[in-house]
C-alpha cells in the first residue's frame, strides 16, 4: 500500500467516523438538553421510552421522518430545499480541522487524530461559521412568510454582528500560538503548561457569549422567538427538513464546544497531571461546555433584540479590540514571559470587574429592593 493511498484511506475513514459520531451525538444531546433543563426546572423530563427516557429522541426522529412533508404554496422551491442542507453542511465541515488526540500509530504509520491538519485551520472554521448564516437566511426568505423573513433578518444581522467578537477572541489566541493551526494551539498549551483560558480569560468570556449568540441559542434566540415570531425562520418547515435544522443546531453546538476545548482548555490533554486517556478527556471537556450552554439556556431570559445588538457592538467588540491590543503588546515586547504576564493581568481584571459588579449590584439592591427580589428557593 503506497503512502498516498494510505493517507487517502485514513482521511476517508476519519471523515466517516467523525460524521458518524457527530450524527449519533445529536439524539443524545437532544435527550440531554431535555433532561438538564428538566432538572433545573425541578421536573423529571422524558422518562417513558427506554431507560431514563433515552429512546425518546429516537421516537421523535421516527415521528418527524414519517410525518407528511408539507411544502407550502408560494415558496421559492430551490432555496427552500437548499436551506436545511446549507444549515447542516458548514457545521459538519468545520469539524474537519478539529484535532481530538495525539497522533496514533496504525499499521506502522502515524495517523493524526484530525481529519485534516491544515495550516489555516482556525481561519477555515471562521469562514465556515460565517457560511452558516445562509441556511437561516434562505429558509426565512424562501418560505414566503413575513414572520419567517423577520426571523431570518434578525438572525442574520445577529450572526454577522457576533462574528466580529468571535474573530477578535480567536485572533488573540492565534497571536499567542503564532499559528492558525489548531494543533499548534494545543501544542502550545501542552508545552507551556498554561491552558489558554487563564492568559486569555477575556477572550474566553467573549467567545462563550458570542458563540452562544452565533448558535442562536437562548438567551440569544431572537430568530425563533416563539412568542413573537411563531418560530422564526423555520415556521414553514416540517418533517425531515425541520429535523435537519435541529441537527444543524446541535452539530454546531458540538463544534463550538470542541473549538472552545481546543483553544482554551488544552484540547485532549488531562488537567492537573491526571493520567492521559486518548479522546476521553476531550469528550469530557466538550460535554462540560455543552452542559454549560444548556445551563445558560435554562437560567437566563431572552434578551430584547436591540439590547442584544447594542451589547455586541458596544461592549463585546470594544473589549475584544482592547484585549487584542493588550495581547499584541505583551506578545511583542515580552514573548517569553507572555503567559504568566497575561495570566496575571487577566485574572486581576476578572477579580476587579467581578468585585465591581458585585458591589454595584448590591448598591442597586439596597436602593431599589423591590426591583431585585431575592429568588425563593426552588422558585
Amino acid at each position: 500500500m503506497s503512502d498516498t493511498l494510505f493517507t487517502w484511506i485514513a482521511s476517508l475513514v476519519k471523515a466517516v467516523l467523525v460524521f458518524a459520531v457527530l450524527m449519533s451525538l445529536v439524539p443524545l444531546l437532544i435527550w440531554l438538553e431535555r433532561k438538564v433543563v428538566a432538572w433545573m426546572q425541578q421536573r423529571i423530563g422524558p422518562n417513558r421510552c427506554g431507560p431514563f427516557g433515552l429512546l425518546q429522541p429516537m421516537a421523535d426522529a421516527v415521528k418527524l421522518i414519517i410525518k407528511e412533508n408539507i411544502i407550502p404554496a408560494g415558496v421559492d422551491r430551490v432555496t427552500y430545499y437548499l436551506a436545511p442542507i446549507l444549515s447542516i453542511v458548514p457545521a459538519l465541515a468545520a469539524f474537519a480541522v478539529v484535532p481530538f488526540g495525539e497522533p496514533v500509530t496504525i499499521f506502522g504509520r502515524t495517523v493524526a487524530l484530525q481529519v485534516a491538519d491544515v495550516n489555516i485551520g482556525i481561519l477555515y472554521i471562521l469562514a465556515l461559521s460565517s457560511l452558516a448564516v445562509y441556511g437561516v437566511t434562505l429558509a426565512g426568505w424562501s418560505s414566503n412568510n413575513k414572520y419567517s423573513l423577520l426571523g431570518a433578518l434578525r438572525s442574520s444581522a445577529q450572526m454577522i454582528s457576533y462574528e466580529i467578537p468571535i474573530g477578535l477572541a480567536v485572533v488573540s489566541v492565534v497571536l499567542m500560538a503564532g499559528s492558525l493551526s489548531l494543533k499548534a494551539v494545543v501544542d502550545l498549551q501542552r508545552d507551556s503548561g498554561y491552558w489558554l483560558v487563564f492568559p486569555q480569560l477575556i477572550s474566553f468570556i467573549i467567545f462563550l457569549i458570542a458563540s452562544n449568540a452565533e448558535l442562536n441559542r437562548p438567551p440569544f434566540d431572537m430568530a425563533e422567538a416563539e412568542s413573537e415570531l411563531v418560530a422564526g425562520f423555520h415556521t414553514e418547515y416540517s418533517g425531515f427538513r425541520f429535523a435537519m435544522f435541529f441537527m444543524g443546531e446541535y452539530v454546531n453546538l458540538v463544534t463550538v464546544s470542541a473549538l472552545a476545548t481546543v483553544m482554551f482548555l488544552g484540547g485532549w490533554h488531562a488537567p492537573f497531571g491526571l493520567p492521559e486517556i486518548p479522546i476521553v478527556w476531550f469528550l469530557v471537556k466538550i460535554f462540560a461546555f455543552i452542559i454549560f450552554y444548556m445551563w445558560i439556556r435554562a437560567t437566563l431570559p431572552r434578551i430584547r433584540y436591540d439590547l442584544l445588538m447594542a451589547f455586541g457592538w458596544k461592549v463585546l467588540i470594544p473589549v475584544g479590540f482592547l484585549n487584542l491590543a493588550m495581547t499584541a503588546v505583551v506578545v511583542t515586547l515580552a514573548a517569553d514571559r507572555a503567559m504568566p504576564l497575561l495570566t496575571a493581568v487577566n485574572v486581576t481584571l476578572a477579580v476587579v470587574v467581578g468585585a465591581i459588579i458585585k458591589i454595584a449590584g448590591r448598591r442597586v439592591e439596597r436602593r431599589a429592593p423591590r426591583l431585585a427580589p431575592v429568588p425563593e428557593a426552588g422558585g
Binding site: 423577520l150 431572537m222 422567538a225 412568542s227 413573537e228 430584547r304 436591540d306
Partner: protein, 105 residues
C-alpha cells in the same frame, strides 16, 4: 491535448477575461442597482483571479497580497453602496424599516 496536461497561463487570462466581460456586460444591461453592483463584484473577482494566477506562474507573492487589498476595498464599497441603496429605498417607501427594531419582546 491530454487531459492531465498542465494548464498554460493563457487559459487563466482567458478565463478571467471572460468572467470580467460577463460582469461588464451584465452591469450595462441590467437595471436593478443591486444586480449591477453584483456584476461589479464579479468583475473585481475576475481581476483577483488573474492576480493569483499570475502570482503563481511568476512565483511572486505580492500578487496574492494585492488580492487581499482588493477584497478589503470591495468590502468597503459594499458597505457604502448598500447603505446608499437602502437610503434611496427608504425615502421612497411607505413602510418604516425601523418597525423591526421597534418590535420588542
Amino acid at each position: 491535448m491530454a487531459w492531465n496536461a498542465p494548464v498554460p497561463f493563457a487559459s487563466w487570462v482567458m478565463l478571467s477575461g471572460v468572467l470580467f466581460s460577463i460582469g461588464a456586460v451584465g452591469f450595462l444591461i441590467r437595471k436593478d442597482p443591486i444586480i449591477m453592483f453584483m456584476c461589479i463584484e464579479l468583475m473585481l473577482n475576475a481581476g483577483n483571479l488573474l492576480f493569483i494566477a499570475a502570482a503563481r506562474y511568476l512565483g511572486i507573492m505580492a500578487g496574492q497580497v494585492f488580492v487581499f487589498f482588493v477584497m478589503a476595498v470591495a468590502a468597503a464599497e459594499v458597505a457604502v453602496g448598500l447603505a446608499i441603496i437602502v437610503a434611496i429605498f427608504r425615502t421612497k417607501s411607505t413602510i418604516d424599516v425601523d418597525e423591526m427594531s421597534g418590535m420588542r419582546g
